[in-house]
Subunit: 205 residues, 3 copies
């Protein structure tokens, strides 16, 4: 809308892109859950380390929002975006943690579909974050994330039907449902990131 | 507060009213769950169609927010209102979908009270949306929604006590609780809509 | 940043501090759940009364936001802060209510840790609210709440592992998990309060 002559701190774009790249890493750790022979205690440790690293970047964003005079877009929006990216990591870590905590032996087959959606969301988000600087070619990103979230939702519901079909006992259903819910929430959090990007786009254009 | 000489796009009021009228339709579909002889596969299909129609209206709101220069109130608030109305529909659709997915034979008696609250919330919201234009007579609306949400919460808790009283096995409890939760979340989402209307009223008056 | 010559209504600070002091009271009622010989019906009544009192304060904040010309910080932020403080009380009331509703005989040992975190959060929040006026010494508050929320999360996950270890049947797991979840959500709501305070600080400084 307005011409911008303000000296804008562009480090925010780099930091948000870094946050998103942590999520690509996190999603590939989640995918290791499918590897049944894997050492899950070790996986859980690596996941926690990844989550701490991502936390560092989130705090760096907050610190910079606090100390920067002119931000590239509204402070509140940078804050919301960063904290939603952080939510994704928290849910991914929760999924891995619950598998170890509940001593889940094997996950139902369809979980692979949910995790594939999660990985694709992470990749698309990581690719989109640097485009915040130009505010160009973002629409295809949020449309695709919305499409993926719908696909993930369908996988999730198919998995629920399977869980309740009678082949699992109630305690096992409870355990598995918590894991599936964490994955579903991670995907929903990616959709929230996309919605915030859309809203920023609304304001800035 | 200020006199308004700005050429405001009033289509937003119509679109928000349309969104709310979709919810009246959705709530009456939910009420069909009480009809035990009904064809639930067919109900689920009609619910999905209603949800898609409502989605269309939501997207129309977003598109218009993107392309309109002067909105009748803050862009972010239109966006929040529209997305909360959309949430209600999603939860209603989830309730119907879970009944089919889990092959729930019959719902506990008290669910009728919860669904009655849901229908009343939908009607009141549909009546209130057109009043956003004048910003008049809205207080009674949000007070009544808050009262209904409290009533719904009480029905919900009575239902929970019934579920856990020992007459249902654990797997059945899990299934029924998910359905009740979806209905409860739909009612909560109506309360969120009312809260946003109250906040818009705060800003505009 | 800017000098303030505006006649600001300082009653908001008092009201927010009152809301937080209701939470100190609420948390000590929650702690009575640990007293196994206690009259829980009576506790539930006192909890409900505490929740109603807190509601009154919340409504007083909203009324004042409606009728005050110059608020000490953004109306929306006062509103968000007040409604998050209200959420904490709702979750605390839910925890107590569910114990009575589900006729839970005894809570797992580790719940004491979760409740201790809850009480500490309430005290810190009650101490911090009056400091909103000067906007000083708030950082230590939100850092400590974040640390406590992490500690609470760890207690919660240890409790989950215990619940699913095989010593409880599925129906008991369902009941206890709902109680633990309500406590966990109350702690999360304290973290949300702290996040809002941090955001207000970002805007005001």
């Amino acid at each position: 809308m307005a011409l911008r002559f303000k000296p804008v701190d562009t480090a925010f774009y780099t930091l948000l892109a870094t946050q998103a790249s942590h999520l690509v890493n996190g999603a590939s750790l989640v995918a290791e859950l499918l590897d049944e022979g894997g050492d899950r205690e070790d996986l859980s440790k690596r996941m926690r380390a990844a989550e701490h690293e991502a936390d560092e970047t989130t705090h760096e964003v907050v610190r910079r929002v606090n100390s920067t005079f002119v931000t590239p877009f509204d402070r509140e929006d940078i804050y919301a975006l960063s904290s939603s990216l952080d939510d994704v990591m928290d849910f991914m870590e929760e999924a891995v943690d619950l598998v170890v905590l509940y001593e889940v032996e094997s996950l139902p087959g369809g979980v692979a579909d949910q995790i594939e959606v999660l990985q694709r969301c992470a990749e698309l988000t990581a690719e989109a974050m640097p485009r915040l600087q130009s505010m160009k070619d973002l629409e295809e990103y949020w449309i695709e994330i919305n499409r993926l979230e719908n696909a993930g939702d369908k996988s999730y519901r198919r998995l629920l039907a399977k869980l309740f079909s009678g082949q699992y006992d109630a305690l096992e259903v409870l355990k598995l449902k918590d894991v599936l819910d964490a994955l579903e929430h991670a995907i929903d959090a990616f959709e929230k990131v996309a919605n915030i990007v859309e809203q920023i786009h609304v304001k800035e254009s």
